[in-house]
């Protein structure tokens, strides 16, 4: 089994349509839904689909991108940290980067958008705006990107190649990505109800950004049992027997080692993946309550693993875990928690994410 060194989290923060980690957590506890119906192609129209935008941000692309200001606001505590230098590397993770700028250029012809369209152009511009040095590793593996950044950063620390590592993720939605999920018919007029046993699946998409500072020895939380697995079975479907989910969870189960946990699932609102994930989590961690927050925040894509890590930390810190927002009726299995519950009766949380290609990622977050 590949190694996944345990590391500490010195700090985490996130940005969602509901605000920073503290505000988002509080809103989730109240059951607020950030998703709103918006035309899938923005100013170009189309059917109204559930989208959740960062506070004050317009959906249609601008040059420079209008998401820089909220991203800088989220990152104010990072200023002057020496990030992007040899001993303080940055691991940027995303699935979108600035690709919305390419859409804006192709639709409307303004060449100013091109400066942000490729991943490296976008990240180099972002690094300059953030005051980072050039030691930036960029990971792009769709919706498990953030997990990969955490694991690479953990290994870099464990090898003694860094004293601290910053994992930084951002995904701001655009007609490029919404149009794609709409074409796949999983983004539609319906609102997501994660893990609900219903006739039609629906996802929502949301803006999301987050960071985590990883160290070897400092911080209140520890990441253990980081695990990956890639089914390579189908681009948009999982093996029907659920073995891909189980294979990813096995090392996490070993890391948990019988401790009491709650589960933060991927839970986008699709049916088959939700059913398989629910079953695999219940089998690996019998009796553990399962929550998913994408019914409120939407799917924050490559950043979801880090956004939801920050919210899981906030849940443990406050002692309250928000329930599965957007799902009122019965779930696929009785382990689904619709309402909030106390975190104090548990030792930590298993966080899981999935992506195209049958990619799976998970870890165990506990008090250090």
């Amino acid at each position: 089994m590949p190694s996944a060194p345990a590391v500490r989290l010195l700090a985490t923060e996130c940005l969602t349509a509901l605000g920073d980690a503290r505000a988002t957590h509080a809103a989730l506890r109240r059951g607020e839904v950030a998703l709103q119906p918006r035309p899938v192609l923005g100013a170009d129209g189309g059917e109204a689909v559930p989208l959740a935008l960062a506070p004050g941000r317009g959906y249609d692309e601008t040059a420079p991108p209008n998401w820089l200001a909220p991203l800088q606001g989220m990152s104010s505590a990072l200023a002057g940290g020496g990030w992007g230098t040899a001993r303080r590397p940055v691991f940027v993770t995303s699935s979108n980067f600035g690709v919305g700028s390419l859409y804006a250029y192709r639709r409307h012809g303004d060449a100013a958008h091109l400066a942000f369209g490729t991943p490296h152009a976008c990240v180099e511009w972002l690094a300059g705006a953030m005051g980072w040095g050039p030691n930036v590793t960029t990971v792009s593996h769709a919706c498990v990107s953030a997990h990969l950044g955490l694991l690479l950063a953990s290994r870099t620390l464990a090898a003694g190649l860094a004293e601290q590592a910053l994992v930084f993720s951002f995904d701001f939605i655009s007609p490029f990505v919404a149009g794609g999920f709409y074409a796949l018919k999983i983004l539609n007029a319906g609102f997501p109800a994660p893990y609900a046993d219903r006739p039609t699946g629906s996802i929502g998409l949301g803006d999301g950004a987050a960071y985590a500072i990883l160290t070897r020895e400092r911080g209140d939380f520890a990441l253990e049992g980081q695990s990956l697995y890639n089914e390579m079975h189908h681009f948009t479907a999982n093996r029907a027997d659920g073995t891909g989910f189980a294979a990813c969870l096995a090392p996490v189960q070993a890391a948990v080692a019988g401790r009491r946990v709650w589960l933060k699932g991927h839970g986008t609102g699709t049916l088959e993946a939700g059913r398989l994930e629910c079953g695999a989590l219940a089998a690996a961690f019998p009796g553990a309550p399962l929550v998913g927050w994408k019914g409120s925040l939407g799917h924050t894509l490559g950043s979801c693993g880090l956004v939801e890590l920050a919210l899981a930390c906030e849940s443990i810190r406050t002692g309250w875990v928000p329930g599965t927002v957007g799902t009122a009726g019965p779930g696929f299995l009785p382990n689904l928690a619709n309402g909030e519950f106390a975190a104090r009766d548990t030792d930590g949380v298993v966080c899981a994410s999935n992506a195209f290609g049958g990619a799976h990622a998970a870890f165990f977050l506990a008090h250090a």
Binding site: P2, P119, T138, N230, M232
Partner: protein, 219 residues
């Protein structure tokens, strides 16, 4: 210091070859019917990986600055009726997924990286930090059309894969990463530069990322 040995190498430099010609030339390397929807980069990365005989215990690291440029161009041109096929094909690590899904070959660890000036160094770092017994490092680019005219795509098409193992026996080369004084400036080593060094068996010894010296010594 991190160290591994190059057990096998596959490099495909196809220059200006058009995707249809690549598809026709390589179609027999893939399961029947599988190449119809594969991208040029998927065909080339798939062939390079196939040359190394990938296995389910291998870890895979993938590096590409632009990835599936033609699919991305086609997807952008498909609006307002966005193409679902081109959407999923245009997503960054698609080239490797096309190859491994075609073979139904699961792998535990798959690290797709992107970037520019230090991409090869960071890809090799990801590989050398893995404790899989064999790590396949692959990468490549495909030449764009209208995105290339706007300097937002690769101007050449190529792909490579190398197998990295812990043992020196029969190795083609040794790859070493060593921390160095942070004050030593890093120089650019882009993916095309790294590919050309692999293709021509050129030795490398440079600070290829901040604080990280890369040495490739051919046997």
């Amino acid at each position: 210091m991190l160290e591994r040995y190059v057990q096998a190498l596959s490099a495909h430099d196809v220059g200006l070859e058009e995707p249809a010609a690549t598809r026709d030339r390589l179609k027999d390397r893939f399961p029947r019917g599988a190449t119809r929807r594969m991208t040029q980069l998927g065909l080339l990365v798939g062939t390079a990986l196939e040359d190394l005989g990938p296995g389910t215990d291998d870890a895979v690291v993938y590096a590409s600055a632009y990835a599936e440029t033609r699919a991305l161009e086609g997807y952008l041109d498909s609006f307002p009726a966005a193409s679902p096929t081109l959407f999923q094909t245009s997503i960054h690590p698609s080239a490797v997924q096309q190859a491994l899904i075609g073979r139904q070959l699961p792998v535990r660890e798959f690290f797709p990286l992107t970037g520019r000036l230090h991409l090869p160094a960071h890809a090799l770092q990801a590989a050398l930090l893995s404790d899989a017994s064999r790590v396949l490092v692959c990468g490549g680019e495909e030449r764009g059309t209208w995105l290339l005219e706007r300097n937002a795509a690769s101007d050449r098409t190529f792909a490579f894969a190398l197998a990295l193992v812990p043992t020196a026996a029969g190795a083609l080369a040794r790859v070493r990463l060593e921390p160095v004084d942070a004050a030593v400036p890093a120089v650019a080593l882009t993916l095309p530069m790294f590919f050309d060094a692999l293709r021509t068996r050129q030795a490398l010894d440079l600070v290829a990322a901040p604080g990280l010296r890369l040495e490739v010594e051919w046997r």
